[in-house]
């Protein structure tokens, strides 16, 4: 019953928006705003006859590779910087600077160094995704509870187990917040990296449709990207809920107590 209710609540607004779009464009003759009915009608033809493996899959693989690489780099460097006061003092202003650069402007620069292949596109995703992960990890490690640190030290936990049992789990709520931001940045960069120079990919395909005035097809690409974004964020939430189950419980206990 309540499950049904929450599903209704979840889908009410999207359903409304789709309905508005559908009726508003129903009789549209505007070339750039084709009826939603037409767009949906071309969806199957556009994507499900080869493009799923030739374009969508390569895009997603690059996203996953770049995102995971950014996680590893961001968490690794974040733990190192967060654990060392000197490193923090020296690097923090620089990090803020790099974070402030909009990642898309790096694409033309990275093309010079890394060419126009998969490597460049993954690199673009990494350079965009790494900052939120890094800065949040630094913050999470820095804010670790003093008493917990003292506890770990007094029981003589070695460096390795301090990392595994204290630092990483202690910073995990913050790391997850950074990873969530990074995911949306990553999806944007996955598309943008393909708009400059590419021969396949979702972003490339959408630009291609636009240039050839295949307008309904272009719209299906936009919808597909939206669906991919929602699916990835749902996956993320699933993983986060598992990893941070203790944190949810702790927060609830603190609120009630």
């Amino acid at each position: 019953m309540s499950a049904l209710k929450s599903v209704v609540r979840l889908l009410a607004v999207p359903a409304l928006l789709v309905a508005v779009w559908w009726t508003a464009t129903e009789g549209s003759t505007d070339y750039f705003w084709p009826p939603l009915r037409t767009i949906v009608g071309t969806f199957d033809d556009t994507w499900f006859h080869g493009r799923l493996t030739s374009d969508v899959l390569p895009s997603l693989l690059r996203l996953v590779a770049g995102y995971l690489l950014a996680l590893v780099l961001g968490i690794g460097a974040g733990v190192a910087i967060g654990s060392s006061r000197t490193l923090r003092a020296v690097l923090e202003p620089v990090l803020e600077f790099f974070r402030a650069i909009p990642p898309p402007v790096l694409v033309p620069i990275l093309m010079l160094f890394a060419g126009i292949g998969d490597g460049m596109k993954i690199l673009v995703i990494v350079t965009g995704c790494v900052w939120p992960v890094l800065l949040n990890t630094v913050e999470g490690v820095r804010a670790l509870d003093e008493v917990l640190r003292d506890t770990a030290r007094s029981y003589r936990l070695r460096r390795g187990s301090r990392l595994v049992h204290l630092v990483l789990p202690g910073a995990s709520p913050q790391i997850a917040a950074g990873a969530r931001q990074a995911l949306s940045v990553g999806i944007i960069l996955m598309v943008i990296s393909e708009m400059f120079a590419a021969s396949e990919g979702v972003g490339f395909t959408i630009i291609q449709f636009q240039r050839t005035f295949a307008i309904p097809q272009m719209w299906t690409g936009v919808i597909l990207l939206g669906v991919i974004g929602v699916a990835l964020s749902a996956l993320f939430h699933l993983a986060e809920a598992r990893v941070l189950r203790w944190y949810t419980g702790l927060r609830r206990a603190q609120r009630e107590g």
Partner: protein, 276 residues
């Protein structure tokens, strides 16, 4: 438990310990000049006014804080970092347990680190939990327990570690009176059963007299030992009987008077002779 002690039977020796905190434009002399000894197997309470540097003393003894001068010797060796064979129970019980671990994992982690074999580990965890009356809570997370239970888990973790010396920093300051009485009796019974040396910091005078064999009274900051009071109460203590003994009242009054003097800024040099 086997005891490895220096030939003199001294477990802990604090010599002219001094700790000055250097802040921005502010220096605090938290500990002035502390000297005392604790014999192996003793249960010693340290009382002193708030801000007297009790926590600072404990952290120096635990090797969590470097002293400005003076030294701390544990079993004859100078303490430069957290020594083996020592367990600490902090005042902030809620923050000293790893919230991402279950009670069992919390207790087991230091044992894993000590490379205690698995079967032995499981036995130690089981016994420690039984000793603090929490056998049913092994698979709960700390935040699912009440404050008193959390502090019990912290004690169980310390006990399972089989330390030679147990340091406790106002461990019961934040639990209700009933729980507090139970935990006091728990500490006495564990101390008697395990023969562990206990250094127990508190600001509660009744608690110090009830628990200890000796009470060390600190002066206010910069801290020195103001007095060292032997508690000659019977070894078998219980909350009602012991606390209604005339001798308990006398000792309590004496410690109370000393703490009052400490608050008034009295120093060992000004009272001339140290009560013994």
């Amino acid at each position: 438990m086997t005891m490895t002690t220096a030939d003199t039977g001294t477990m802990l020796e604090v010599r002219h310990l001094k700790k000055v905190f250097q802040g921005r434009g502010r220096t605090v002399e938290a500990v002035g000049d502390l000297t005392f000894k604790v014999k192996a197997g003793e249960l010693v309470c340290v009382v002193g006014p708030s801000g007297a540097g009790k926590t600072t003393l404990l952290k120096c003894v635990a090797g969590l804080l470097d002293s400005t001068s003076g030294e701390v010797l544990l079993e004859g060796r100078a303490v430069t970092g957290p020594p083996p064979g020592m367990a600490v129970v902090f005042q902030e019980y809620g923050r000293s347990l790893f919230p991402w671990m279950t009670v069992r994992q919390n207790i087991e982690l230091p044992l894993k680190e000590k490379k205690v074999p698995k079967a032995e580990r499981q036995r130690l965890v089981r016994e420690a939990l039984a000793a603090v009356g929490l056998s049913d809570a092994a698979d709960a997370h700390p935040w699912q327990l009440s404050g008193g239970m959390q502090q019990r888990v912290a004690i169980a973790r310390a006990v399972a570690y089989e330390p030679h010396i147990l340091l406790m920093d106002e461990p019961f300051a934040a639990v209700d009176a009933q729980t507090r009485a139970e935990l006091e009796d728990l500490v006495r019974s564990l101390w008697k059963r395990l023969g562990v040396t206990v250094l127990f910091i508190t600001h509660d005078i009744d608690e110090s007299v009830y628990l200890a064999e000796r009470v060390i009274v600190l002066s206010s900051s910069p801290t020195e030992v103001l007095a060292d009071v032997a508690i000659d109460l019977p070894a078998e203590r219980d909350q009602l009987g012991t606390r209604s003994l005339p001798r308990f009242a006398e000792l309590r009054a004496e410690v109370y008077r000393l703490v009052q003097q400490a608050k008034d800024g009295e120093r060992p040099s000004t009272i001339g002779k140290v009560a013994r």
